[in-house]
Symmetry: C2
Subunit: 268 residues, 2 copies
């Protein structure tokens, strides 16, 4: 049941980011691979739990029935738990001590554990659930950004940071990758929100119904469509600026990722 959700597709942005960050600072793919897989396991785990009837009550995920729809609620809770555990096992047990020093592994565990907990995925989901049905004035941009930064950005940022740690990046390089990842995550959300309000529901790749019913917050709703587009432009530029000091050849995938997100035309 864990496999069902893990292999159900998705863009694999987080693991790609992890590996690209590792390569950017001079490491190779193999060094970051088991941790990149772990990041995707953690991401999938949080989606399985978020989709549960007691949370977002989603029937579809990535175009397929959600985990609890196929295996039942009890198994979906356990599938998420198993994926969390497997992630930490995978990243510590499978990457050889010859390739990654235990010291770097420990630092990567800390980074990913923080990205899950009360200051990451869980913290963001708690505030998100508490914000449903709030109107524009009660909600506010600050709350919206808190939710995005914790619920989704935390793991994306951690993916880039652990990639840089495992690849042997300097503290300054790690810092730049942290900032790059923060920018592209916010960029993704702003673009997603713009598409959400400008595209008709039937063209969207994910079920928009739940968001509408629950009255979720979006950037255009909060700061207008025009200012949302300006923000997207600014974030795209800021992300690319973080990559200036690195080998341009190695920066190609990360530049491409920022461009891809900025120019996206479909939510999926």
């Amino acid at each position: 049941m864990a496999e069902y959700s893990l292999l159900a597709g998705g863009k694999r942005v987080r693991p790609l980011l992890c590996i690209a960050a590792c390569e950017l600072v001079g490491g190779d793919e193999a060094t970051a691979m088991s941790t990149a897989c772990a990041v995707e396991m953690i991401h999938t785990s949080s989606l399985v739990h978020d989709d549960l009837p007691c949370m977002d009550n989603a029937d579809l995920r990535r175009g397929k029935p959600t985990n609890h729809k196929v295996f039942g609620e009890d198994m979906a809770v356990l599938a998420g738990d198993a994926l969390f555990a497997l992630a930490f096992e995978h990243m510590t047990a499978l990457s050889s001590a010859l390739v990654v020093s235990p010291k770097r592994k420990v630092r990567a565990v800390i980074e990913l554990a923080k990205a899950i907990g009360t200051k990451g995925l869980v913290g963001g989901q708690v505030i998100d659930l508490c914000s449903e049905g709030l109107n524009r004035d009660d909600a506010g941009l600050e709350r919206l950004e808190f939710i995005h930064l914790h619920k989704t950005a935390a793991l994306l940022v951690a993916a880039a940071v652990v990639g840089a740690i495992l690849g042997g990046g300097t503290e300054d390089e790690i810092k730049k990758l942290r900032k790059y990842a923060r920018c592209i995550r916010l960029l993704f959300q702003v673009v997603d929100d713009i598409l959400y309000v400008t595209k008709s529901t039937d063209k969207l790749g994910k079920s928009a119904g739940n968001d509408v019913v629950a009255g979720k917050l979006t950037y255009p709703r909060l700061i207008s469509l025009e200012r949302s587009r300006e923000l997207a432009e600014k974030l795209s530029k800021e992300a690319e600026e973080q990559l200036l000091g690195f080998d341009p050849n190695k920066a190609v995938p990360l530049v491409a990722l920022a461009s891809y997100i900025a120019g996206r035309h479909n939510r999926s």
Copy 2:
């Protein structure tokens, strides 16, 4: 909400075992403390999830309303997730690299992650949920022991093993502690099952109702009361034998734990 369940009481057997194992092999309390706390967080997390309406649907835990009864199902799922994450953060971030080498920390992470996943807590709970309502012939001793070994023994054994790892135990010492912990876990279960069928329900410290309704497996039901008592005797002896090669003064808490479990008169 994580704190509510973490500080709701309980015997703290797992963290005590972790620290006692560390001390047995020559380490001190401080070396194992953050990992001992992590073990209790993982244990609590699994209890919070197991108590959910979609699983054991328990109203009470340690004499208090269960997490979802107080905070709601969504928050209880997230509280469990947060505790999992906090456990890994706590054991890696809070124990100084001067006291515990990164190499030992990584080994401890692997051991605990395995104890949670499909070969540990989660695996045991899945088989347990699939076994409800089975009659004696369909169930069998093998299934009962599988459930106990995975659902509960895995973490208890891991607690002792990580204590020994952190304390700098030799491979042989770690092996002995693994065997000791397996014995006392099975011992605990056999004694618990004996008390369950010989004591009246109103004297029990935990709600027996769910077990009865679901037709859970017990040792007396499977191998008779007399043979259960013989098994308890055998396990108690085997546990103490594992401690023979160590400093008798340092073995005192672990000998006492085995005696306490063997002589227990109340389920709680």
